[in-house]
Each structure stands twice: as structure tokens, then as C-alpha cells.
């Protein structure tokens, strides 16, 4: 492991933690605007996190060690997963870092712990959230893997670092493939980050809650970790989409100026994407839970189409 890579680890982790809460607030802001409200400040998520850190943690007497380790494990797994998606600087991959299946499995590891923590306290809300989350994640999985297979097919590599390096240096593949990858990845972002029409991140109503239901029992610093890890996950997924489709700005050499420019461009690109997500969310209602498979079937269709196009062309 060389110094570049160690620096990469530090830079990527710091950047992703620093910018992620911003995008969560930005989506809220966009949604507020479309509803004719002013909305909270764009820095509101930072304030909320700081507030949560100051609060005490309450555990239910029924809860076990799972409840106590879940926030740490979730945060660690998602931070490591975020390391697989270079935000500003693409180093040479070391020791298989950047493997796209491992990326997906690290997110699954976090989800596994979260779902168990949802069941841990014995509250029916937590159980409901876990059950729905595991069901949704199971049926989106074939789509995710086919999208990733399509990516591997298009870029001829399984490694996200190499994919980014290819899309930076030689430019993206054909427009049609790009659009299809974009649509499929967008749907995966919506599902993985529990947004409308899959889940409503803003309410605690039992009809809608999936992700919120699972973390209902969390409090204080643990809740802060859960919120932050959800934000980091969203940023990592958005960066995956953006750096494949519009890779300009991301640097492959380690210079201060390059990284600063890349950082600014990243914030701009992600802000535009959060705007799109916000408008997308505002423009539709939450789907009924059992209508979700059809949405996933659509994503599956698009990603299979890429493969068929690539295979037969």
C-alpha cells in the first residue's frame, strides 16, 4: 500500500462525511420549494447531527448487544463501502478495493445489522421496518446485479476505480448505453436510499415507514450515526452514477488544486442530482408496497436491455 492510497483513504472518508449531510438538506429544500414553502436551512442536517450527539442514548430493556453495536457496524461498513467509490481522486486500486460486488455486499452488511436492530427491541414498528426493508432489498437485488453486470460488460472491468479511470480518460460509452445505465442506477439510488416512491423518508407513519421504522428505537449519538451513514450511502451511490455518466472534474493525480476543483465540481454535480431527486420525489406519490415489484421490473428491463444491446452489437 503506497502513500497515495493512504492519502486517498483519508481524503475520501473526510470528504464524504463532510459533504453528505448537505445533500440530505438540499433534497428537503428542493421539496419545500416545490410545495411553496421556504424549507429548513441547507445546513439543517449538520445542526441536527450535532444536536443528536449531545443527547443521551436510551436502550430498551429488551434490547441486546445487537442494538449496541449496530450503529458502529453500520457506520463502519458504509464508510468502507464509500471508499470503493472515489469522489474526487481515483488512485490505483489496491488489494481488490473497488470491487463492485463487494461494494454491494458491504451495503448489505449494514442493512443486515440495521434490520436485526429493528427487531431487537421487540417493537412492532421496528419489525415492520425490518421486514419491509429486507423484502425490498431482496427483490431489487437481481436488478442491482444486472446493472452492475451491465457496467462490467460496458467497461470490461469489475472494479469501480478502473471504471472511473476509463470513463475519465477515454470518455464514456455510447449515448444510448449511458442513458440506460443512468436510468437503472437512478432507480437503484431511489430504492437504496429509501426515497419516494419506495419509502417516505419524512414521516413516521406506519403506512410508509421502512427505513425510519427500523431506526425508530435509535436515539442520541446512535441515531446520529444512523442518519449520517444513510447520508454517506446516498452520496456514494450518487457519486457512482455521476462519475460514470459525467466524469469530468475527477482527478487521477494527487494535486491539491486538482482535488479542490474536483471537490467543487462534485458538490455542484451532486447538488444538481439532488435537485432532480427532489423534483422526482415531489412529482409522485408513494407507491403501494406491493406495487413496488413492477417498478423494479422496469429497472430490470432497462438493465437487461443494456446487456442485450452490448451482447448483440
Amino acid at each position: 500500500m503506497n502513500t497515495d492510497f493512504v492519502l486517498y483513504l483519508a481524503i475520501n472518508t473526510l470528504v464524504v462525511i463532510a459533504v453528505s449531510p448537505l445533500f440530505v438538506s438540499l433534497i428537503k429544500k428542493v421539496k419545500a420549494w416545490t410545495q411553496g414553502r421556504q424549507g429548513p436551512s441547507v445546513f439543517q442536517t449538520y445542526f441536527t447531527l450535532i444536536k443528536l450527539l449531545k443527547k443521551e442514548v436510551i436502550y430498551s430493556p429488551n434490547s441486546s448487544r445487537i442494538m449496541r453495536v449496530t450503529p458502529l457496524v453500520t457506520m463502519a461498513a458504509i464508510l468502507v463501502a464509500a471508499l470503493f467509490v472515489p469522489l474526487v481522486f481515483v488512485p490505483e486500486p489496491v488489494g481488490g478495493m473497488g470491487n463492485i460486488i463487494l461494494f454491494m455486499s458491504l451495503l448489505a452488511l449494514a442493512r443486515f445489522f440495521m434490520a436485526l436492530a429493528g427487531l431487537d427491541a421487540g417493537s412492532s414498528f421496528g419489525g415492520m421496518g425490518s421486514s419491509r426493508e429486507m423484502s425490498i432489498s431482496s427483490i431489487i437485488e437481481p436488478t442491482t446485479i444486472v446493472v452492475f453486470a451491465a457496467l462490467a460488460f460496458v467497461f470490461k472491468t469489475l472494479n469501480i476505480f478502473d471504471m472511473f479511470a476509463i470513463s475519465v480518460s477515454t470518455g464514456s460509452p455510447s449515448l444510448s448505453t449511458l442513458i440506460l445505465i443512468g436510468i437503472s442506477l437512478f432507480i437503484i439510488i431511489i430504492v437504496e436510499t429509501s426515497r419516494i416512491p419506495v419509502d417516505n423518508p419524512e414521516t413516521h407513519l406506519e403506512l410508509t415507514m421502512i427505513h425510519e421504522g427500523m431506526i425508530l428505537e435509535q436515539s442520541g449519538r446512535n441515531l446520529a450515526l444512523m442518519e449520517l451513514s444513510a447520508a454517506v450511502k446516498m452520496t456514494a451511490l450518487m457519486a457512482l452514477l455521476l462519475n460514470l455518466i459525467v466524469p469530468f472534474g475527477i482527478t487521477t493525480s494527487l494535486t491539491l488544486a486538482g482535488i479542490l476543483i474536483a471537490l467543487i465540481l462534485l458538490v455542484v454535480k451532486c447538488s444538481i442530482l439532488t435537485g432532480i431527486i427532489g423534483i422526482f420525489e415531489s412529482s409522485m406519490a408513494k407507491k403501494r408496497f406491493f406495487q413496488l415489484p413492477s417498478l423494479f421490473a422496469m429497472a430490470f428491463f432497462f438493465s437487461t436491455l443494456i446487456i442485450i444491446i452490448e451482447v448483440f452489437s
Binding site: 450527539l53 436510551i58 436502550y59 430493556p61 470491487n99 421487540g122 429486507m134
Partner: protein, 647 residues
Amino acid sequence: MIAELFILALLVLLAGTIFPLIAASLDRRSVRTISLSCTIVASILLGILSLVNLLSGDSVSFTLYQPIPAFSLSFVIDRLASFFLLIIAVVSACVALYFTEYIEHMDGESRRNLLCSCTSLFILAMVLVIASANTLAFFLFWELMAASSFLLVTYEYTHDETRKAGTFYFIMTQLSSLFVLLGIILLYTQTGSFAISPVYGGMTYLAILAFLALFAGFSIKAGIIPFHKWLPYAHPASPTPISALMSGVMLKIAVYGLVRFLLDVFTPDLWWGVLILAAGTASAVLGIIYALKEHDVKGMLAYSSIENIGIIFTGIGLSVIFTASNLPGLATLSLLGALFHSLNHAMFKSLLFLTAGSVVSATHTRDIEHMGGLAHRMPVTSALFFVGAVSIAALPPLNGFASELLIFMSFFSSVALVDPLFKVLLFICLALFALTSALSSACFVKAFGSIFLALPRSPESAVAEEVPRAMLIGPGILAAACILLGVCALQIFAFVGFAVPLPDMLLISLLLVSMAVLTYAVLYFTASREVRVSETWGCGTLSQQASAEYSGHGFSEPLDIIFSAIYRTRTTSERTFHDQKNCIFKEGTGEIRLLKVFEEYLYRPIAQQSMSITKSVSRFQNGCLDTYLLYVFVTIIALIIFLGWFA
């Protein structure tokens, strides 16, 4: 050296078999402990010799006994055999260790000595199957394995359920033996010998038929859908350590058989690979979907075994496809994936079975709806089960992930295949494979959540206690193996001399740990450290009740609805009519139950057909001497005419 060690291990196992038979009437703990210790010692010997042989890569062959020139009890221990011997050794040692304590809590007084004896015999048979150098010895020990496992399954023969399971198992396992025998005979007609040697001169129809027969035989033993039905019957019925052995090891013997014959005997065609892949994928997906619906903890583990065997067959199928398409690198990769998954499945499935057995013996129920809250009451067991659950859910950095990743990699590399139609087929299988892996994660969240988390849902589980130490050490070793095989997967492969494109899981694990430590440190210095244990909001209820919890059924309900096409139910209504004095004057039973598709549409029709055939045949046997004399007379006349005609 290897040969001597091997024979010594066989003798120790034989001692473990015979000793309890001699002391059959003595209901003493010492008898059983000595027998099981023999198993442990033999397993350790086997483990040492297989590790040595695996690393050196030699092939040791020797003959034990040769009654006639055409047949000999000779053995070959090469790399493939040592790999499977290693699986047997590790699992048997841990299971026997666990068994020393578990068996003392079982019913059956001195009959338990026979159980020890049969366990030893079963392990002996499996070892001999693996080491057999010719097909006849292979079949002989295959039968011994089937017979001894049947005795083990029917240990609690006083229960109706067990008798039914035993019969079912016996029929299926004999069917498997029959197919294997057919395959061996067909092979003999091709090669003219019983040696496990390549069939030269292209694949004739008979050779293909031999493959199909062997494939069917091994599939039945391995529990590939649609031959899987014996697993969910036999596993819940048999004593837990036996389930662990059967699921962890015996299924792998079938995998060994398939791999051995594919590598050493046949030159497979492309469509063989497609057949194996299709069978594997179907088993994997359906296995886990059925597992989700199962609420008997051992039944669920049995279905999950079907799923995992499906994954192993998927890897083997891919390997055959790549071999036939002239891509030896990829073929090796997917075969390594399949074999590594066999090892991993042996580890985590026996771990899960053993810990589930501890839970069952503590709560006296197999229904996960009546468990709950055991994480507080059985902390070590719950931690061990947790390791198994994370492994089987294929989550990094444990071993289930490492082997499934290898198979995922081979799928992704199928870009190298020439035929575009094959690529599309493989992508469909890939999608199903991903679904399997995600569903198994959901299944084990449900299992762990229902068994160990929240409040106890029955009085028995409220007073459950941690099991004795021997029942923790056995699974503990397996859990350690799960972690080691996962975290050091890349290093282990490098050590045995294979370069695989796995990510460095050691690095990833280090990163995970350091991220967790960093997060903890940052929180320690910045956040409030106050912690309070108090009732959390329960939607207005005063205190939480177990009856209001989310149950296992509730957990899998969304998936039930999504896959409702697969879980079809059969509804019958139930009515009782009372007269004015409240006496029942008419009643009818009814039920809504899961349609057992394979049983009702495949097994039962075949069974009924064969029953009616046997019935018509049995009419010839009327027990009357005159009739039999007539048969003899007719036969002689027919023979005379036949000979006169042709000779």
C-alpha cells in the same frame, strides 16, 4: 506415511464403531465418551493427513484387500479427495465434541450406545467413499453410508413423524444408490473396468446415459430440486448432531462424486453444464424461497442446505460450460468457487445446526415462533449462531461471501463466452443467483431475529439457560473456521497455490475494524456518553408484550405475497353444527395449508403408479403351491421352446 495414517484413522473409527456394540447394554456415559473420542481422534488424524496431502499435492494410492483379481479395496488419496477428507475431518471432530454432551440429554438409555456406534460407522463410510479408487468400492461404501445414515435418522423411531421421515429417506437414498449403480454398470460397459478412469473415444450414447444416471443419483443424495423432498423430512426428525453431519458432510459426498466423475471420467459437453447449472439455479432459488416460509428451525436449515447445494451445483455447471467452451482459466475459477463453497457450507451449516440444536434442547420446541429473547439467556450460543447467520447470508468479511464472490466473478467473466445466447442465459442465472443471495440474507435476519431477539414468546424460552461448555466449544471451532476462511480467503488460496481474483478481505476487515474504532473514538471525545436503559415508546402500550411483537410469519409476509405464485395454498373449510343443547351433530374438518407442489404433483403420482404396478404384479404371488408349480411348468416349457427355436 499418508497410507499408514489413513489406515490408522480407519482403525480408530472402527474401534469407535465396535466398542459401543460390545458394551451395548451398558448405559454408561464413559462408553459413549470413549466411542466419540475415537471419532475425534480419527478426525484429527484425517485432518492432519489431508492437510499434508493437500499442500504437497501428491497422489497416494494403496490396496487394502484384494479378494479377486477384478475387484480390490484400493484407495487413492489425491488433492480432491484430501480436500473432501478435510471437510469430513473438521465437521466430524466438532460434531463429535458437541455430541459427547448432547447425547447425555437424549432419551433412549443404552440405545444411545448404538447411536455412537452408527455415527462412527457413518463417518467411516463417508471417508471410504471419498478414498475409493474404483467404482465398485465407491458403490459399496456409498451403500454403507446410506444404510448407516438411515439408522441414524430413525433413532427416535417411536415418533410417527420420524418413522415417516425414515421411510421417505430410505426410499430416496436407495433410489440414489440405484441410479449410481446403473451409472457404474453403464460405465463398465464402456471402459471394461471398474477403475475410475477416463472414457476414451468420444461420448457415446451409453456414456451420456451413464452420466445422466450418475447425475440423478448424486442429485438425489445432494437434495437438488426436484429430488430434495427427503431433506426437510429427515433433518427435523434426526438428532441434531446427525443433521449437522448429514447436511454439512454427506451432501458434500454427492458433490464429490459429481466432481470426481466429471473431472476424471467424462469429457463433458456444453449441454451437460447447462443441465447442471439449471438444476443448481432452480434449487438455489426455490430452496431459499421455501426456507423463508418454514418455521421449524431445522426444516428451515434443511431448505437452506438445498439452496447452498444449488449454489455449489451452479459453480460446477459454470465450470463445465467453461471447460466445454475452452476457457480453462474460468473453469478453474468457478470450480474453485464451488469447492470452496462446499467447504464453507460444511462449516457454517454444521455450526448453525449445532447451535440450533442447543436452542431446541434449551427451549424444547423447534418452532421459531415460540422462541425469542434468547440473546440474553444464551449469550454464547447466540453469538455463535450469529457468526453462522452472517456467513450463510454471504456478507463480508465471512466465508460465505468469499465463495459466493468467486461464483459471481465467474458469472461476470462469462463475457468471454462466444455464443451471445449463452451470455444472455448466464445473465438470467446471475440475476436469480443474486436473488438467492439476497433472500438468504432476509431469511437469516428472520431466523436470528425470531430466535434470539426481542421478548421470549413462550414460557420455556423465558427460562432457557446456556448449554454446557462442550456444546459451545464444538460450534466455537466451526465459527472460528468461518471467520478465518472468510477473512484470509485470498491468503489461503495463495498458500495452496491458486491465484484467484478475490479482493484482499484481510485489508477490508482491517479497514472495517479501523473505521469502527475511529468512529468510536470520535464519538467518545465529541458526543455525550450518557446511556439510560428505559422503556422506549411502544405506541401507547404501558409495557411491551411478547404477543404484540413482529413474529417470524409477519416478517416473511411481504415476501410471501410477492412470491405467492410459488407458495400456493390449498383451502378446505371447517364447519361444526350444533343443536339447541349445544351438542355437535355434524362437523367437518378443513384447513388452509401450503400446497406441497413437488410432493403432490410429482412424488405421490409416481408412488401411486408404482403401487398399482406392484399390486398387479403381486397378484401372481397368491401363496398357493399349485400356482407356483404351474409357473415352474410354464417356465420350463417356455425355455424348451425358446432353446429349440434358437439353438
